[in-house]
């Protein structure tokens, strides 16, 4: 969290995260070029530029696959949350790797032509009406453009400038980008590779992303929405101390009921920062803390502690016959609501 915009709010965890990312790329490229390729069964060596195209291209695909797996993994197992914490850096690094791939393509396949490279890139294959032979470069360009926009707007300035919902919608474009990448590979190198190894890795990666999202969606789906005026939530004892229970009150809206000792408060499940699932967070230093990036709010009024200014909606609750109920009508962000105090509640 910050009250001013700095290029990167570095902390030790981010340094470590980025160091791992760089190591990941360096190891991948070195193994590809120096260990794997010499072991391949070639009559004559593949061109160095084409090897680099393949190395950076496949690395970018795998990185993007991991990025898309992080979200659902963090929902399914909270221990993956630290990987999600700095996911934006992962995205920026992936864009850089994909851009390197594109520059090698442009400098190799489209150089030495009678027309300028960019023009050559656009006019050399216009068979948009056919499946095999479809201009895979167009798919790659589309993916790279999206990744570049996402990388350029990954900073909190853009998050604030665009507002969280718009920013979040924009960054969901990562999914079309992945589809473009999958099509780019499926209609290009995938068709040329004679070994089943690449096919297995490629389809395995894409299916893993799809499978994890389905599993995550299925987990979410278990919280069925209620149509009643006051929504029955749970018994106070079912909420672990300093944790929350998430209650679905409509198709789009979820409420997190947090417990601090014998005090219970309900806030929106959506973090004002990037829409992170607050209900999967914890009370840290007396504040609701988002599991994604550590944004904090007071449970009773949804306000971030001074000097921060973020606010989230709160909800009214009642206790009837030992069960907590939520008024599904959200209060204005920052509205103070007296917590429900339940004496003698045992730890859940």
């Amino acid at each position: 969290m910050s009250v001013s915009y700095v290029p990167v709010q570095w902390n030790p965890n981010k340094w470590k995260y980025d160091a791992v990312l760089i190591a990941l790329v360096v190891v991948y490229i070195i193994v590809f070029l120096r260990l794997g390729t010499p072991a391949a069964d070639f009559t004559r060596p593949v061109d160095g530029a084409i090897l680099r195209i393949r190395a950076f291209g496949s690395c970018a695909f795998l990185m993007l696959t991991v990025i898309l797996a992080i979200g659902p993994l963090a929902r399914l197992d909270k221990r993956f949350a630290p990987i999600l914490y700095n996911r934006r850096h992962f995205g920026v690094m992936t864009t850089a790797v994909a851009f390197t791939h594109a520059m090698y393509v442009l400098g190799w396949y489209f150089a030495y032509a009678p027309i300028p490279r960019l023009e050559a890139l656009l006019v050399s294959n216009t068979s948009f009406g056919q499946f095999l032979g479809f201009p895979i470069e167009a798919l790659g360009i589309a993916a790279l453009l999206i990744l570049s926009v996402l990388a350029a707007t990954s900073h909190d300035f853009w998050l604030s400038f665009l507002s969280a919902p718009v920013w979040k919608s924009l960054h969901l474009m990562i999914y079309p980008a992945y589809v473009f990448v999958v099509a780019h590979v499926a209609l290009g190198y995938f068709q040329d590779a004679k070994s089943p190894v690449f096919a297995l890795i490629f389809t395995g990666g894409a299916l893993t992303v799809a499978g994890l999202h389905l599993a995550s969606w299925f987990k979410e789906r278990r919280f069925s929405p209620s149509t009643e005026k006051w929504v029955k939530a749970c018994k106070p004892s079912e909420i672990p101390d300093k944790r929350a229970v998430i209650v679905t009150i409509s198709q789009q809206e979820r409420v997190a009921i947090f417990r601090t000792g014998n005090s219970f408060s309900a806030v929106s499940n959506t973090c004002a920062h990037q829409g992170g699932p607050l209900g999967e967070g914890k009370i840290v230093y007396g504040h609701v803390t988002c599991p994604w990036h550590g944004f904090s709010y007071k449970a009773r009024n949804g306000c971030s502690p001074a000097p921060f200014t973020e606010k989230i909606p709160t909800y009214n609750m009642s206790l009837e016959n030992g069960v907590l109920f939520i008024d599904p009508k959200a209060n204005q962000p920052g509205t103070d609501v007296e917590p429900i105090i339940v004496e003698g509640v045992v730890h859940g």
């Binding site: 791992v20 590809f32 391949a40 084409i50 009678p114 068709q191 840290v284």
Partner: protein, 251 residues
Amino acid sequence: MAKEKDPFFVGWGKIPKDYKVFLISLTASIIAVFAILSYAISSTQSDPGDGALMGLTTAVGILQADPYPVLHVISSGRYQPGETIILSGGGKRGVVKRAAGFDGQVVRAAGVTMQRGDLNGMQLRSGKNGLRGDDTGADAFTVRVENLGRWRLTGEICDGKCLNGAMRPGRGLAHKACANLCLLGGVPPVFVSSAPVEGSEFLLMADANGKAVTEEILKFTATYVEIEGEVERRGELLIFKISPETIRLAQ
């Protein structure tokens, strides 16, 4: 070390001990998996074949301009008399214009040789250093022409320069745009037959009249296609005079 009862990760805080073990294992696993995948992908890349650039050479021979410039060798330090060489220019350019004035004449060609199997190619040096009339009195001969009849062939349309070793690999769908650029630049198109025709899998393409093919073939490059046409042997090279309306994607 006692385990924390309810560990929780906050980016700006210390990493809980329970998470540390998991994260160190996860980090090592991801890097190891990336290394394994990198090795698996790179070590199983397809063989680009034996096409390669073979260094500079000169050859004296009879130049034939249609459908694309080729040289029927009379004498050369590298080629045997009677061998046929497909000619191309620097980059993604052919030499149609340069060769037009020498059709049927004895010329001296110099440049970088390329070879893939029995397919010979040469990237000519620029200007007269690459192609000029020969006045050394080399003995010209009549190029043997033999009609081999009508064939229906399956295979791939490639550009004759990258295929020949200017790029490795110089064929396939990942190379399609490059092949199209080469063909647009005048590089001779070569059909790679899935089964040898009269002993050769490489055929220089021409239209039904023996002239250069039209841009209609560009949408079929790099894919597996079926084409009908007349096959003719000229010197050591097969010419495939295609009927463009018969081109279709093969199953």
